[in-house]
């Protein structure tokens, strides 16, 4: 214990620190009722559930997302607690859960498609929730969020107005952004406006590709998002936090493009032929 009853002495822990002793018996801890939280990261999935997603696209997306959860769980196993928040948008915008859920507890709720594509409204809702007073209120939150947008068509509302609001949100600015266009009608330019670069936009034209792309983006972005990057460069010079976030976003683009390029073409049926 530092300090004393009579008089005082400020003992710097540099002098009297507690070494991390492997022999410490943590089982006797009366304070274990409130768990220890590791560094945490929130992954936001923004999913288009408009009517055009009906059928194979929605069915495939539901299946992939169910399969994906255990894979993301493995990403977080090392030293990061991953939380997931899913925002669906069609005529209305709706969160799958009322708050980000730890990946260990997360269960996918199968989505149904119906209505129009209110992407701008989704951007506004996301901006509202990406705040220390709302979805990002966990004390252990250590990394900027990963934001992954999936859509199959043009927004039916003024998405630019929503995007403008989102772009003024610091979490969005520093977050890792990626987008997936599903089928022929998804517009990569709109998606690149959202992510800030074409490198982080990919396209899936078939069920097989959809599964591959979702996994590539979700797993790669969670890996990069939860990586502690040093705030100094090779020469030991300190670099700003903004540079670190920019470096992460660039790395995400590079890795996504490399992984997408290395995918083997599958001969499954494209979404837009007969589906």
């Amino acid at each position: 214990m530092n300090g004393a009853l009579d008089g005082f002495e400020a003992v710097s822990a540099a002098k009297e620190n507690t070494q991390l002793d492997n022999s410490l018996d943590f089982d006797d801890d009366p304070l274990s009722a409130t768990g220890v939280s590791r560094k945490s990261l929130v992954i936001f999935f923004l999913i288009d559930t408009s009517g055009s997603m009906k059928g194979k696209k929605m069915g495939e997306l539901n299946t992939v997302m169910e399969e994906l959860i255990p894979e993301i769980r493995r990403v977080g196993e090392a030293d990061t607690e991953v939380k997931v928040a899913v925002l669906t948008f069609s005529t209305d915008v709706r969160w799958m859960y009322s708050t980000p859920i730890p990946i260990e507890d997360f269960e996918w709720a199968r989505l149904r498609a119906n209505g129009v594509t209110s992407m701008g409204a989704a951007f506004k809702e996301l901006s509202l929730r990406m705040s220390r007073n709302s979805f990002l209120n966990s004390p252990s939150l250590s990394f900027a969020p990963v934001i992954f947008l999936m859509t199959d068509g043009y927004p039916s509302d003024d998405y630019r107005e929503g995007l403008k609001e989102l772009q003024s949100n610091s979490w969005y600015k520093f977050g890792l952004k990626a987008a997936l266009g599903i089928g022929n009608e998804a517009n990569d330019d709109v998606l690149a406006e959202f992510t800030g670069s074409k490198d982080t936009v990919v396209h899936a034209y078939s069920g097989g590709q959809l599964a591959q792309m979702i996994k590539i983006i979700a797993v790669t972005s969670s890996q990069i998002g939860s990586k502690s990057m040093t705030l100094s460069d090779d020469t030991g010079r300190e670099i700003g936090e903004e540079d670190v976030f920019a470096a992460k976003q660039k790395l995400l683009g590079q890795q996504i493009q490399e992984l997408v390029g290395s995918q083997v073409e599958e001969s499954d049926v494209p979404f837009d032929t007969g589906w």
């Binding site: 214990m1 005082f8 003992v11 710097s12 070494q19 304070l31 409130t34 939280s37 507890d105 269960e107």
Partner: protein, 308 residues
């Protein structure tokens, strides 16, 4: 509180070094201490910034803790007089305490620098141009959180991040600090800032009496998944304080675990409590702990409800 309570203060403090600092060969940047007298008890923690230009911040945090206790000692030199004056003009006196802390810290830093000029090794990490831009007091930059329990009033001061948690008469764990809006949210305020005296946050009350009060560096807060858990943790600790000697090892173990499995940061926790009042409120604290457990389970169940 008229006349004040007859208080029997006690306390503890501890700092653990973060696993990440151990890995990178950094020394612990945190310092902590407490002091207990018949009239007051003070708990202080400080977190040295630790980044490159704050290369002496482990010394700066130690000075921050010492400067605070010395400032409180000075204001309490005539305890009866201070107890009478403070409630009458607490805002002004609080500002004066803050200024005194800064003045003490600046004196210590100045003296240390005079006796220990910057070494060639310390300078070698910067270009001449870079080094010239750093203000000497920045070498020692640190945060500071102090919680003071008196017989008639309770107050706290803070500069930079970290937390102050208090359990007053109702047994509820709260964070009473009123944050200074002029301290920019995206910049860590520091005792080394040239306008440090204007960047303090503080709180004062003479309406409630404390059972226990805690100051902690942000390594503790960030080891929790939610603020509810963080507050509940302080209620659980308070429930253990009646057996302080037995509890001391448990808290050391727990802080070590929190640092190792949490954000790997240094953690400091300093506490003062009124042991007589705690005995009086023991069953209330136990009730609160049970109530918190129930509420935590309800929150978890609510969290897992799907909305689509």
């Amino acid at each position: 509180m008229e006349g004040g309570r007859i208080s029997m203060f006690n306390g503890f403090s501890h700092s653990v070094m973060g696993a990440s600092h151990e890995k990178t060969g950094l020394v612990c940047q945190d310092s902590s201490a407490y002091k207990v007298t018949d009239h007051y008890a003070v708990a202080v923690v400080a977190d040295g910034h630790g980044s490159k230009k704050h290369f002496r911040s482990h010394i700066g945090s130690k000075y921050a803790v010492e400067s605070t206790i010395e400032a409180i000692e000075r204001f309490y030199e005539d305890p009866e007089q201070f107890e009478e004056n403070f409630p009458k003009n607490h805002k002004m006196i609080l500002r004066n305490i803050e200024k005194q802390i800064i003045a003490n810290w600046n004196n210590k830093v100045e003296k240390h620098l005079e006796e220990n000029p910057v070494t060639a090794e310390e300078k070698s990490k910067f270009t001449d141009e870079e080094f010239e831009k750093i203000l000497p007091e920045s070498y020692y930059g640190s945060t500071l959180i102090a919680a003071v329990a008196g017989k008639k009033f309770t107050f706290g001061v803070q500069i930079g991040d970290g937390s102050l948690v208090a359990l007053f008469d109702d047994g509820k764990a709260v964070m009473p600090m009123e944050y200074n809006e002029s301290a920019p949210a995206n910049v860590t305020a520091s005792i080394c800032n040239s306008n440090a005296a204007t960047m303090f946050s503080s709180f004062y009350t003479d309406k409630k009496h404390i059972i226990a009060m805690y100051a902690s560096t942000d390594g503790l807060y960030t080891s929790f998944g939610s603020e509810y858990d963080f507050l509940d943790y302080h209620t659980i600790i308070t429930g253990q304080l009646t057996n302080l000697e037995t509890f001391k090892q448990a808290i050391v173990n727990n802080l070590t675990k929190r640092s190792r499995y949490g954000t790997e940061d240094d953690i400091s926790l300093s506490c003062v409590f009124d042991s007589d009042f705690l005995t009086e409120k023991e069953s209330l604290i136990k009730e609160k702990i049970e109530e918190n457990k129930k509420l935590a389970a309800e929150r978890k169940a609510e969290l897992l409800k799907k909305q689509v």
